[in-house]
């Protein structure tokens, strides 16, 4: 991989990150922009959960990660601390992989 390709990717990645912060600026703290901004994580976080649990190579996959997700949901529902939610999910996934 050439350094030029790397730098181009870096510039593009940075540009994507900066668009929202630079363009929206002070106008972002009022009205519709605020409601939209506040709602984006509500849609994106579950999407991240879904993709990180069930996505394979351009297809849906059901594997040990689903066990980890189930454990995480139960732990979260039971108000476990963040550390426990993450740790229990990882441990249960590792366990399922180890025995299968």
């Amino acid at each position: 991989m050439s350094w030029w390709a790397l730098l181009a990717l870096a510039a593009a990645a940075y540009g994507l990150k900066a668009i929202g912060l630079v363009v929206l600026g002070p106008r972002a703290v009022e009205g519709p922009a605020l409601r939209l901004a506040a709602l984006l994580p509500a849609a994106l976080l579950p999407a991240l959960v879904v993709v990180n649990t069930f996505a394979g190579d351009r297809r849906l996959e059901l594997d040990a990660r689903a066990v980890g997700l189930a454990v995480a949901v139960v732990a979260t529902w039971r108000r476990a601390p963040f550390v426990v939610v993450v740790g229990a999910a990882a441990a249960s996934t590792a366990l399922v992989r180890a025995v299968s």
């Binding site: 929202g20 972002a28 506040a38 993709v51 997700l69 995480a72 732990a75 979260t76 996934t93």
Partner: protein, 264 residues
């Protein structure tokens, strides 16, 4: 303390009188970050660090030099995109498709920038340009889980910096150590991220509007996984806000991710 809204709070037993609201609930917007959150951020950092090691190994295996792997982690600093690039290159794919999928995966950071804009809006352009570098899944997720502006800003920076340090140290170690490291998936660490995002999504699910957005976002992403290139399902999930905005009423305080105002 805002610990009534975080996943870490213990519920008082049902037979006791309900806890009164925390003393600084009214001053919520300027309340500082709780100590438990700082610990959680470093937990996330540790998991990210181990994946950074994995990236360092994969990148050098795919033919990048250690310097290139480290430069990518410093400059690009988007995990999914970086893995995509070295994965495509490592399996013989073209540079064009490597970069294309990397950009698809990085596109969601634009949505995160929009989500973080209100929190950072009153800061100088210079600070926002600096902040942009650490606009990623984890910093946005940690920040938007907090109910007050100052706590959100602190969570964003602390998470961004912690993840930046851990990811880059990990990359360097992985690049240098080569194959002498374990597999994060054997430790179940790939499940750590969706688990963390579940915990961080909770405050957003307290209003009807948030729940509708969540269900729509998840459904869109799930439906697109087999149909679209990597990265697109998450970007498209942002459209899940549209049904929520159209069909539900706004919560009393749109900045309170927890919907704590209407819950009290």
């Amino acid at each position: 303390m805002d610990d009534g809204d975080t996943p870490g709070a213990a519920r008082p037993p049902a037979d006791r009188a309900p806890r009164p609201p925390p003393p600084d609930a009214g001053a919520g917007d300027e309340a500082p970050l709780a100590g438990t959150v700082r610990r959680d951020i470093w937990v996330l950092g540790a998991a990210v660090g181990i994946f950074g090691v994995s990236f360092g190994v994969l990148a050098t295996t795919a033919g990048l030099t250690v310097a290139q792997a480290c430069a990518m982690s410093v400059l690009v600093f988007t995990g999914a995109s970086q893995f995509a690039v070295v994965g495509v290159i490592g399996s013989g794919g073209s540079l064009g498709s490597a970069l294309g999928s990397a950009l698809m995966l990085a596109a969601r950071n634009a949505a995160y920038g929009v989500a973080m804009a209100p929190t950072l809006a009153r800061r100088s352009l210079g600070r926002r340009l600096l902040a942009a570098q650490v606009v990623i899944d984890e910093s946005t997720a940690m920040a938007t889980a907090r109910p007050g502006r100052r706590a959100r800003e602190q969570a964003f920076w602390l998470t961004g910096i912690a993840v930046f340090v851990c990811w880059n140290v990990g990359t360097a170690l992985g690049g240098l150590a080569g194959d002498a490291v374990g597999d994060p998936e054997a430790l179940g660490l790939d499940a750590a991220f969706p688990a963390g995002f579940v915990a961080l999504a909770v405050p957003h699910l307290r209003s009807t509007r948030g729940r509708v957005a969540a269900v729509c976002g998840a459904a869109i992403a799930l439906a697109l996984i087999p149909l679209a290139p990597a990265g697109l399902p998450i970007v498209a999930a942002a459209l899940g806000v549209i049904p929520a905005l159209l069909f539900t009423a706004p919560p009393d305080d749109p900045t309170a991710a927890s919907g704590a105002v209407e819950a009290m």
